[in-house]
Every structure is written in structure tokens, then in C-alpha cells.
């Protein structure tokens, strides 16, 4: 008889704790694919691949334009300096004559 009592006591219906449902739901919740860190990392990488090269190319083009302007200015100054040197040389030569 003791065995029956023990079984009855062991199998008696007990109410679930108040937070039981919440705990179960928390454990079984499926994380959306869009909220997984791996997915977010892949999305960020794709965005970077899409955005960075055009931005880099734009920056390079700007640098090239700047360099072109500087080159033209440098050659222009060189041309003027050569002319100035030539004049100086002519003056010097005339002076000696």
C-alpha cells in the first residue's frame, strides 16, 4: 500500500510555476534569420563591398584631378622660370659686352 501512496504522491498533479510558460517560450523561441549575428555580419560585408570601391574610386579620381592641376601649375612655373633665366642670361651677356 505504501507503494501506491508513494506513486500517487509522486504523480499527483501540481500546478506549473507562474513563469513556466515564459521560460519555455524563451527557450524555444526561433531567432529570426535577420537578427542572427552571422547574417548581420554578411549583410554588412556585402554593403561594404558595394559601397567602398565606388567611394575609393571617387577619392582616387579627386586625387588625380588635384595632382593634374598641380602638374599644370608646376610646368607653368617652370616655363616662366626658364624664360626668366633666359632673360637674366641675356642681360648678363650684354653687360659683359
Amino acid at each position: 500500500m505504501n507503494l501506491e501512496d508513494d506513486l500517487r504522491a509522486a504523480l499527483r498533479r501540481e500546478p506549473a510555476p507562474p513563469d513556466f510558460t515564459a521560460k519555455v517560450m524563451r527557450r524555444t523561441r526561433v531567432v529570426s534569420i535577420w537578427h542572427r549575428p552571422v547574417t548581420l555580419a554578411i549583410a554588412a560585408a556585402i554593403a561594404a563591398v558595394a559601397i567602398l570601391p565606388p567611394a575609393y574610386e571617387y577619392r582616387q579620381h579627386q586625387r588625380a584631378l588635384e595632382a593634374k592641376d598641380q602638374l599644370i601649375a608646376a610646368l607653368s612655373i617652370t616655363q616662366t622660370q626658364l624664360q626668366h633665366t633666359k632673360q637674366k642670361l641675356l642681360q648678363n651677356t650684354r653687360h659683359r659686352q
Binding site: 586625387r63 598641380q70 602638374l71 608646376a74 617652370t78 616662366t80 637674366k88
Partner: protein
């Protein structure tokens, strides 16, 4: 060991003369009222040359290896030290470029050096000018004919050869 150190010490100045930091010239212009600092070489120069496309008048640009232009204009005399030019003069001399012009008068001087021609192409040149209120260092390495410079007008550069005062572009490039 001492001999090795002495040999090393003897080698260092030779190696040091093979390169020159043109940016070091910028200290010359510390008190300048107008200054232009342009240093183009390597990839930057290639990028700039690339933008001229197939323009025949600008084809010569592709033959340039380095372009350094440092020009300073001062308000008063004595605002720069001519001794600060000794390093660049020593560097150009170390390249064994031929001195093709040397004018000295009244405390000012102009020196011009020419790079030896290579493969029947003219070399570059260097001009170092020191005047009381003006100092200019131009160093162009690569291949450049003087006649190429006259093609600049075809590239949209105004002819300023007659006017010394308009030598510098309005927006002086300060690196």
C-alpha cells in the same frame, strides 16, 4: 670592428645623397608671403598624367618621373637663408647632372643642371634660383623637351612667360 664602422660611416653620406626629401625645402618658405610647394612623383604623377588621356600635346607628361617645384616670394630681403639651399644643390650635384648654367651676381645666383639624355630622349633638369626676395627650386626628372612646355597653352594654361609677377598660380599650393 672599428674598420667596419668607419666603412659604414663613409658609406652613409653617399647613400643619403641619392635621395632627397624635397619637403625639407618648405622651411625656406617659412616667412614667405607667397609660396608654392608641388611635389609629384610615382603613382600620383601617373594618375595626373592618366587624366590627360590621348591628348597629343600632353603626351610628354607620361615621360616625367618626378616634378618638384618650390617657389617662395618674400616681403623683405633677408627672410630666408641661402645656406638652406646647400642640401638641394649637393643632391643635384651628387646625381652627376651637367651644370649648364651658372650665373652669379650681387649676392644672387641661378644654377641650371641637365640630366644626361637617355635612349636619344632628353633628360630632365633642375633650376635653383636665389634672389633677395625670391627663391625657386625646380627639379624635373624624366624626359622633357623645352619645346614641350610651349604646348602647355594647348592644355588650357595661359601664357605667362612675359610676366614675372604672375609666376605663381593664385591658389598657391601648400602641402
Amino acid at each position: 670592428m672599428k674598420i667596419a664602422l668607419l666603412m659604414l660611416a663613409a658609406t652613409v653620406p653617399v647613400v643619403a645623397q641619392q635621395t632627397f626629401d624635397f619637403k625639407s625645402l618648405e622651411k625656406l618658405g617659412a616667412k614667405a608671403k607667397d609660396s608654392t610647394n608641388i611635389s609629384l612623383e610615382g603613382d600620383t604623377l601617373k594618375m595626373a598624367a592618366g587624366l590627360f588621356g590621348e591628348d597629343k600635346d600632353a603626351a610628354f607628361v607620361k615621360n616625367l618621373k618626378a616634378v618638384h617645384v618650390h617657389a617662395y616670394e618674400f616681403e623683405k630681403e633677408g627672410q630666408y637663408n641661402q645656406a638652406d639651399l646647400s642640401a638641394v644643390r649637393a643632391y643635384v650635384k651628387s646625381l652627376n647632372w651637367a651644370k649648364i648654367l651658372d650665373v652669379k651676381e650681387d649676392g644672387e645666383f641661378t644654377e641650371m643642371y641637365g640630366q644626361a639624355p637617355h635612349d636619344n630622349q632628353p633628360g630632365g633638369f633642375a633650376i635653383i634660383t636665389a634672389e633677395p626676395k625670391e627663391v625657386t627650386v625646380i627639379f624635373i626628372s624624366g624626359s622633357l623637351k623645352l619645346s614641350d612646355l610651349s604646348k602647355l597653352q594647348n592644355l588650357g594654361v595661359p601664357d605667362v612667360t612675359g610676366s614675372r609677377s604672375s609666376k605663381k598660380p593664385e591658389d598657391s599650393k601648400k602641402d
